[in-house]
């Protein structure tokens, strides 16, 4: 199978890749949000201390 064939997905690329892309985005956001919130928490806590 060539790279082109792989990305072509037998003509269903328009459906398959957006499905995977969207999943990736949603799963990433679910990690990024709490990590940022935790950073934010410590930034605020340190500000209060000073």
């Amino acid at each position: 199978m060539s790279v082109q064939e792989f990305f072509h997905m037998g003509g269903y690329a328009f459906y398959v890749w957006p499905a995977y892309g969207l999943t990736l985005i949603v799963l990433l956001v679910n990690i990024i949000i709490p990590v940022m919130q935790r950073k934010q928490f410590f930034v605020k806590a340190l500000k209060k201390k000073r």
Binding site: G10, Y12, Y15, V16, P18, R38, F41, L46
Partner: protein, 254 residues
């Protein structure tokens, strides 16, 4: 508790203590991420590259490797949320309350993924993005239940009261779970019946089944990772005046 071997009992007892939980999950995290990446890589390689195209659906069926695990997770996380909420309701264990509310956005995300990827699969196969059949409608209701839990929690300022409220909502909503699971058997729907979770042998070839199960495992580990991340933030917020959080802030300052 006396039925449980002592080290196991002690482990859970320690885990219910916020500072222990916080420290332990920090050490656990890199291992979980490595396991998640390995499972995902193996699942995607098997599903997108090794597995053959479906004899009826061609390559469009490859959406199954995220659609079905997401749908499973949407149900599984809801049950975890309801059980954790129930434990918090009865025994007032803070960590159980936090696990319940932290599960809600992750479960909502998986429900959303299941709905959208299903839509993207339905268009080429059924000729429509959406149809009001039993499976799709009950899964949509699941999304609203999750959003209801998140909204209710945000609407109540006292987080211990909020936890009680969402636990009750989550427990009542459990009635929707068997409806979703059996909808494809109870009603004649456009959505296909189960190919894996049935009493008979799964009606799916092993070259497709293995990557599917790998992806299901990978999503389970992902849930664990995302849950820990959210739980730690929620713990910090709730315990911000306690000694262990103050000590941590002081250590960062130095």
């Amino acid at each position: 508790m006396f039925l449980v071997p002592d080290p196991v009992g002690r482990f859970f007892h320690r885990m219910a203590s916020p500072p222990h939980f916080y420290a332990f999950t920090e050490r656990l995290m890199p291992w979980l991420v490595v396991i998640f990446l390995l499972l995902t890589a193996a699942g995607l390689y098997g599903g997108l590259y090794l597995a053959p195209a479906d004899y009826q659906q061609g390559d469009s069926y490859r959406i199954i490797y995220i659609h079905v695990p997401s749908a499973w997770m949407s149900l599984f996380i809801y049950v975890v949320m309801a059980i954790a909420g129930g434990i918090g309701l009865v025994w007032r264990i803070k960590l159980a309350e936090i696990v319940a509310i932290s599960s809600a956005p992750i479960g909502a995300s998986f429900t959303f993924i299941a709905l959208v990827t299903g839509s993207l699969w339905g268009k080429p196969m059924w000729g429509t993005w959406w149809v009001w059949d039993a499976r799709l409608t009950s899964e949509l209701i699941l999304l609203f239940l999750y959003l209801g839990v998140i909204g209710l929690y945000g609407a109540i300022d006292d987080k211990r009261v909020a936890s009680k409220a969402i636990a009750i909502l989550a427990l009542v909503g459990v009635v929707n779970i068997p409806i979703i699971h059996y909808s494809v058997e109870w009603w004649n729907t456009l959505h296909q019946g189960p190919t894996v979770t049935k009493m008979d042998k799964p009606s799916i070839h092993v070259s497709m089944l293995i990557p599917l199960l790998l992806m299901a495992l990978s999503f389970n580990v992902y849930y664990f990772i995302a849950l820990i991340q959210r739980t730690r933030v929620e713990l910090l917020e709730r315990e911000r005046n306690s000694q262990w959080v103050r000590n941590m802030v002081r250590e960062i300052k130095q």
